[in-house]
Amino acid sequence: MEQVLATTLRSAAPLVLVAMAGVFAFRAGIFHLGLEGLMITGAFTTVAVGDATGSVELGILAAIGVCMALSAVYWWVIGPLGANVIIAGLGLTSIGLGGTAFALGAIFDIRGSMFTDVVLPRPVRGATSGPGVIISEHSILVWITPLIVLVAWIVLRRSRFGLRLAAVGEYPFAARSAGVNPSIVRLQALLISGALCALGGAELSVGALRNFTENMTNGRGFIAFVAVIFGAWHPIGAALAGLFFGLADAIGIQSQINITERVPREFVLMIPFVLTIFAVWLGGLWRRRTLEAEAGYAELREPDY
């Protein structure tokens, strides 16, 4: 039981971090399907730079920089250049997945998996039994994640930027009337989003593990996006959804170990996707809410600048 809860936290942390990235993008009216690509880029950059410099902090800083730069390019393509948000996002994901696997081969001459000595500090460790197991052996990023969720919530709820973001996402027309440039606000949201994706990727590669593997995100970016929808694009809601998917993942892993009562793992893994279809469907039933969120999204598709 303790082991399941510990695994839940470990699986959920990267999901929650990337879900926060998704919340910022979604609030700005951007259906960000590039999260997966940014996440794996973050994971790779952390390992590559961290390994080269021997410093995990530098690795994470570099990852944040690279992901923010990619986010800025994404903004440029979908904003001023008017590309389709969904397709460019999926393209960004492919660029991330393909680019990191390619770079692994081109820079390090490795196929598949690369191990590293750099690792994030783990504040609490050593517990082998009892409730201590739940909080033991987690990287510092797992500990910081709740804080990030809290800050995200405060920023979205209480800050001037949060209000602008809400205006741009829900009613760009009003935002523009109030003298806010939606395009700039979208850029800011995407930059924050990129940085959070980098953290999520870093937690995956040097937090929970000590390696980078091709395609190691394995759909987590999409699941995080799903958590955003499932959590009604609220930071706390999305974080809870991320925790829930972490739990589903942990149960899946556990049921693999205890083969005796075998629920096929695939069916456990399907849960998030099936639930999401329900969530999106129900969200569609709350008509008003969806339309508000989609207004900003719709505007991105209309030629207006």
């Binding site: 259906f31 690509g37 393509v77 250049l81 008017g82 590309a83 389709n84 969904i86 397709i87 460019a88 999926l90 393209g91 960004l92 994901t93 492919s94 660029i95 393909g98 680019g99 696997a101 390619f102 692994l104 081969g105 081109a106 820079i107 196929r111 829900e170 009613y171 760009p172 027309f173 091709e214 759909g219 999409f222 799903v226 929808i229 096929p264 695939e266 069916f267 893994l269 399907m270 996707f273 099936v274 999401t276 279809i277 999106v280 469907w281 969200g283 569609g284 039933l285 008509r287 339309l291 508000e292 989609e294 207004a295 999204y297 719709a298 505007e299 598709r301 209309e302 030629p303 207006d304």
Partner: protein
């Protein structure tokens, strides 16, 4: 079509830019772009078996890509081709393994029909939610795609697993050789006639039938279409069904053609590449044919490239991503549909 030439020019330009950017990345990484280029030409056209291999990869890309084209025509964004492809292949496999002794043409027919129905089902659920409740089909088709991949994984690792199989990835049993419509090269007259026939039928449907016209009208302006007395829901469901049917059929062709058995996560990029193919083909049937051959050639070349250069195969995924990232630039008419009431002041 007004501005047709301009569209072709801008698409070609964007594809060329994507290629140049990828070439730049390769060059910076220290690969000889010339060698890679000559490898691509050899691997897709001139080397022994290369042209066949190009056609082999063109077939699934074309079928799924045409499904995407149909969806876009009515303004729907079916990005779940991968899952529909998988469940199609799975259904055909179940039929073929369950009825090994049956008369060959009948089993193949039944397998293909099962695949088409499965693909339809996989696409109709999002379609129904879309037309009935306005649920965003991008998300639901994507989710159904993940679920389809898990269904394949479950079947190949569980009930249909080849017990004597070795190797790391789970694979199903092989279907009897008699059921295959091609050899392992994946190309035969039957397969080509089938795919060519499907392409012609899709063209006829879209450009020469009443239903095709109503689809186009719904895609251009659903409100106007409703005023003209078109049953938008019915057209929507029909579009989703056809779109899924083509992806399902692609799965069956893959199984009866080059596959003969299913491996967990086979052809993982096909669904997404097909979306790129449809967009590069400018959402027209013949454009999609050309784009499918082009991307089929690239797919074939990437399998050949290790012979002439040590370029890692993921470079192809990078290239596809680059094309997808850029190809829709200023490409607007696609999803004009979902302009909710709240967004109207913006347009005005």
């Amino acid at each position: 079509m007004t501005g047709g030439l301009q569209r072709v020019a801008s698409t070609v330009l964007l594809v060329v830019v994507s290629f140049l950017l990828t070439a730049l990345i390769l060059w910076v990484s220290g690969y000889r772009v010339g060698t890679v280029l000559s490898g691509i030409i050899q691997g897709s056209i001139t080397a022994t078996g290369a042209a066949t291999s190009t056609i082999r990869w063109t077939i699934p890309l074309l079928l799924i890509g045409l499904g995407v084209v149909i969806g876009f025509r009515a303004g729907f964004f079916n990005i779940g081709g991968q899952g529909q492809f998988y469940v199609g292949a799975c259904s055909a496999l179940v039929v073929s393994l369950g009825w090994r002794e049956g008369p060959v043409p009948l089993v193949i027919m039944c397998g293909m029909i099962a695949a088409i129905l499965a693909g339809m089902a996989w696409s109709l659920l999002p379609g129904y939610l879309r037309v009935q409740f306005g649920t965003d089909e991008v998300l639901t088709t994507l989710m159904m795609s993940f679920i389809g991949a898990l269904v394949l994984q479950y079947l190949t690792a569980g009930p249909l697993r080849n017990p004597s199989g070795t190797g790391q990835t789970a694979a199903s049993e092989r279907i009897p050789e008699a059921f295959r419509i091609t050899d392992s090269s994946g190309v035969s007259v039957t397969a080509l006639l089938l795919v060519g026939g499907v392409a012609v039928l899709v063209w006829l449907l879209l450009e020469r039938t009443r239903f095709g016209l109503t689809m186009t009208l719904v895609g251009r302006n659903p409100t106007m279409a409703r005023w003209q007395g078109i049953d938008v829901r019915r057209v929507g469901l029909g579009t989703f069904a056809l779109s899924g049917a083509l992806s399902g059929l692609a799965g069956a062709v893959e199984l009866y053609g080059p596959g003969a058995r299913l491996v967990t996560g086979f052809s993982p990029e096909v669904g997404f590449t097909a979306v790129v193919v449809a967009l590069v083909g400018m959402l027209s049937v013949w454009g999609t044919v050309v784009a499918a051959v082009f991307f089929g050639g690239l797919q074939s070349a990437i399998l050949f490239l290790p012979i002439v250069t040590d370029l890692p195969p993921p470079a192809l995924v990078l290239l596809h991503g680059m094309v997808a990232f850029l190809v829709t630039i200023k490409f607007r008419a696609v999803r004009r549909r979902r302009t909710g009431p709240a967004a109207k002041p913006v347009a005005g």
